[in-house]
């Protein structure tokens, strides 16, 4: 069923039917009702492509998912973020189109999206420091919002981010207050902006307590369980092991716990752990009492909100840029406790 058929069926012109359906005032209310009813009955919905062609809007938003050729890694927060954003999109009549692309071809993917007019705007995921995508998007004039921020970019842009620095600063202080002096950092991939900011918070807290950051107990990698395990094990095996770990993701933290328990130590008593928790739906931090003490911020909620911001920008491209900084909550769980005596 298309417009032409529907309107001839109703004995009306396509114009009138189209207007009736799109809520224009110049159509009799009685007529509008008739049209709406017929559309309903015949399950009519305007063809997306035709509508898009006529209006010049795709009513779709793009997400470019860079696939690191080295790591073949999908960001585990991706599903929840998409779920959050997807909610907002449906509510506003937008489709979501994903493009999976090798990270080396990413720029080309954006250019492609732009010239094919497939979407009205894009979300930039996982910004690195000095991320080149941002200036590219500015240049080709595709509306966008960044999930996170990119240090070292001159021109301003819209973003939504967790306050990673303050989160890790507070977490480090929390450990320091418990008497921990030697705190290992198990962080995300070097170059990722969030990892940089978390490290900055960590180092700032240490320095404020007169402790020099020790590269021997700081690691940066793709945040897998195995990476958490290896890092923690290696650090614990040294002569001067950390009494606490600050970890950048739950999955990593699970690996850290494995390493701790494998050595016959108990987490929360012998070794403390604080992790960042993205509040992923399939990886809740325990039940009523959190397993891990964590800096918590829902990535799903971030998706929801970020999508709103992007839609706002699309509707009003020359409007003010929007910056939103979410504070993570520090939730105390069972994985932290006072530093053991002998280590103090």
């Amino acid at each position: 069923m298309n417009l032409k058929e529907l309107s001839s069926l109703l004995g009306l012109s396509q114009t009138t039917v189209s207007r009736a359906l799109n809520g224009y005032p110049e159509v009799n209310e009685e007529t509008r009702r008739r049209v709406a009813l017929a559309a309903e009955q015949h399950n009519y919905r305007p063809n997306t492509r035709a509508k898009g062609l006529a209006t010049g809007r795709a009513m779709a938003i793009g997400h470019v998912i860079p696939m690191s050729t080295k790591h073949e890694m999908v960001n585990p927060i991706f599903g929840d973020f998409i779920a959050g954003a997807g909610e907002t999109y449906s509510r506003n009549g937008y489709d979501m189109v994903l493009t999976v692309v090798e990270d080396v071809n990413e720029a080309q993917a954006y250019r492609n999206i732009r010239s094919r007019h497939t979407v009205d705007g894009v979300v930039v995921h996982g910004p690195k420091m000095q991320d080149s995508r941002i200036s590219l998007l500015h240049q080709i004039g595709l509306p966008f919002v960044v999930h996170g921020r990119a240090s070292g970019i001159a021109k301003d842009y819209s973003w939504l981010d967790v306050n990673n620095k303050s989160a890790f600063l507070r977490a480090t202080n929390f450990l320091l207050d418990l008497g921990h002096q030697r705190i290992g950092l198990i962080n995300g991939l070097e170059g990722m902006d969030f990892a940089y900011r978390r490290r900055a918070g960590y180092e700032e807290a240490l320095k404020a307590h007169g402790i020099a950051p020790d590269p021997a107990i700081m690691r940066s990698e793709e945040m897998t369980e195995v990476f958490g395990y290896r890092s923690a094990r290696e650090m614990l095996e040294t002569g001067n092991p950390p009494t606490a770990f600050l970890v950048s993701s739950m999955i990593c933290a699970l690996g850290v716990r494995r390493a701790i328990e494998e050595r016959g130590l108990r987490m929360g008593r012998d070794v403390s752990v604080i992790t960042h928790d993205d509040a992923l739906s399939y990886l809740q931090n325990g039940g009523d009492v959190p397993i891990f003490t964590a800096t918590r911020s829902s990535v799903r909620e971030a998706g929801r909100r970020l999508a709103e911001i992007l839609i706002e920008r699309i509707n009003n491209p020359d409007g003010p840029l929007i910056h939103e900084l979410l504070e993570a909550e520090l939730m105390v769980g069972q994985s932290t406790g006072p530093a053991p005596r002998e280590a103090q």
Copy 2:
């Protein structure tokens, strides 16, 4: 830059330019080269919507992501599956469009997709037994492939699935051979087809060994870490605890391990665990030596292959239906060992 501009720039008709770009034979090779070069230089790419309208094909494939209203849960395998499928799509010039929808509105979402002509076909995720989506899709005539199968559907359809039954049958036999008599099952949500099939394999193996399945040590739920933990703990607390667990996902298995170690037991010695492993990129089963003995099947590879099947069906809707059954490999890791003496 659009076709009209490009062709007037070249002093050619739109017809010729279009044909040159789309590889039609009735155009001089010299001309084709000129056109290709100009297109390249001006970064020309045909407008997706216009092309779609003209050809009647969207060159896009839909994934409807049902969001369970109760659980607010995103399937953790989703990211990796999408990554795999996305690879195939890019290679074939397809876009991927996601629709996040509350599970109660799912049927409406498919109807909507269909009448709006947004995509050429869809992937059905997470089939339940007697899944109603399948007949709906047949009825509305939207090409589709199911990731998994749905027991109890009369009309045939294309699918790609892991042999869940045989995987869990083999895993159960493996445990039985090690002397385990009391094996707990920690399975996915009741009603999900894969969970049904895994249980069938488990029960068949038990019965073949003259053991009656005991509902007291069988659980079905959304597969989270916490669910794994709770289930294992409860079972271990009983007077007659299992000596082994068969678990439906790695994330769940991490919870099981937590419960085991919390009781001061050692996994692989005191209690054995076998889990299904979807080979998620961020949750590898240990490094060189697997942590868990596991039935392993890459969900990413499944995505790649399933996308191929769907594209084939779209290109040839009346062609033969395709069924592909992947066997999971049983990988022996450190989480299994002979049943402890006293329990035998």
